[in-house]
Symmetry: C3
Subunit: 167 residues, 3 copies
């Protein structure tokens, strides 16, 4: 039984920007970096994602947002300092950092980050969002913000946004 994790290998690395068209449809992708400052850190990505869509001048379409890490998530919620503090505390209580996780035990795991709690929290939040574009803008309710949850920071994180749409 291996202590190691399976590595995912692409034939070619993910490039920073790509755009193709198919019958009036644009498919545009780009990666971007987010630096985080705390072990659990919540970052508002809304304006950045909206900016990509507006720059492309896509009228109707969809946006896929993907985190390229197992312990960094994206999700929808309200962005308010008090609520962000509640989210952090809730995640810390729901999954105990110091329980006897096998992933943190050198007898069973070659990972030295001691981050089983981060992996379990990430499983609950999810690693991607697929959003709608309408009238040139991302469809979001008044209080909805696109949030990134760093769960094992501080780190530099890579995300990729892919926009599908009709100009």
């Amino acid at each position: 039984m291996s202590k190691s994790s399976t590595v995912t290998v692409r034939e070619t690395p993910v490039s920073e920007v790509s755009t193709v068209t198919a019958g009036g449809l644009v498919i545009h992708g780009e990666t971007f970096l987010v630096d985080t400052e705390q072990r659990i850190d919540l970052v508002d990505l809304t304006d950045r994602i909206m900016g990509v869509v507006r720059k492309l001048r896509v009228k109707e379409g969809l946006v896929s947002l993907w985190s390229l890490h197992t312990t960094c998530c994206v999700f929808i919620n309200e962005f308010q300092t008090a609520l962000l503090s509640d989210i952090r505390h809730f995640l810390e209580e729901l999954v105990a950092r110091d329980a006897e996780w096998q992933h943190n035990n050198p007898a069973h795991s070659d990972c030295d980050r001691m981050n089983a709690d981060s992996h379990l929290r990430a499983m609950l939040l999810g690693h991607s969002l697929t959003l709608q574009v309408h009238n040139g803008d991302v469809v979001l309710g008044q209080w909805q913000r696109i949030l990134m949850a760093e769960l094992d920071g501080p780190r530099a994180r890579t995300l990729r946004v892919q926009v599908w749409g009709v100009a």
Copy 2:
């Protein structure tokens, strides 16, 4: 440190119905309302979503379903009175309504709905689904139903469905 939440502003409001085409592909969007009756209320949206797809006569495609609220979710599960009761009780136990959440504390928050529990439960269920269309119908297993979870009702809720497909 602000007690307020960030507001999301669109350049133009979401219209009720829109349809565009691109190279044989239809992209159709429409919003709809759901009135809920309890604080936690589970509503079966399956027939409504299937109806939109059948009306469009799309054969192969996908459907995006989006809730425009932070405390109203969509997810997949079985629709049975007994199980719905279990889901409600599980959510109530998993996130305590009366814990000392900062979002419910006027010293830290200008929100007077006292709904921190609703926000935390919503984070676990998610706000959207992206489904497949095949042979003119949504791809669902025999017991799968598309459910909406009202987590801070009773309220009138707005959702948006976007269908991509080939006729």
Copy 3:
């Protein structure tokens, strides 16, 4: 009040393979089976999903992965024996199998699988993923693997993958 669950009926059954094109775009779907061996069983689907995309020679696009069952999920995480054991134990602790769930009570439910815990765990993990394709390959981080969570096995499970893309 019914003890039964609502059944979802398609006009035509899901076929095993289908491919259509629209303006340079390919939409390809196929179902596949996974046999599981334990009540909670975690299966790595990454190579299988990547294989479907490579076989189609799609360069830019997206992939939808759907589980056709209420108690069988798909999600992203690291694939390591120690961590998989932690995930199983966490799910077992988060939702007690032997609590007094109504779905397991013959007075309220005609389901004899006694699997309320499976349904509640599934609600937290989710039943689908929508992934990006770039440069002919699925976009995944180095440690990200596409995992299936059997939550009420052992069973034979059906999933459907739908690829959208430009060759």
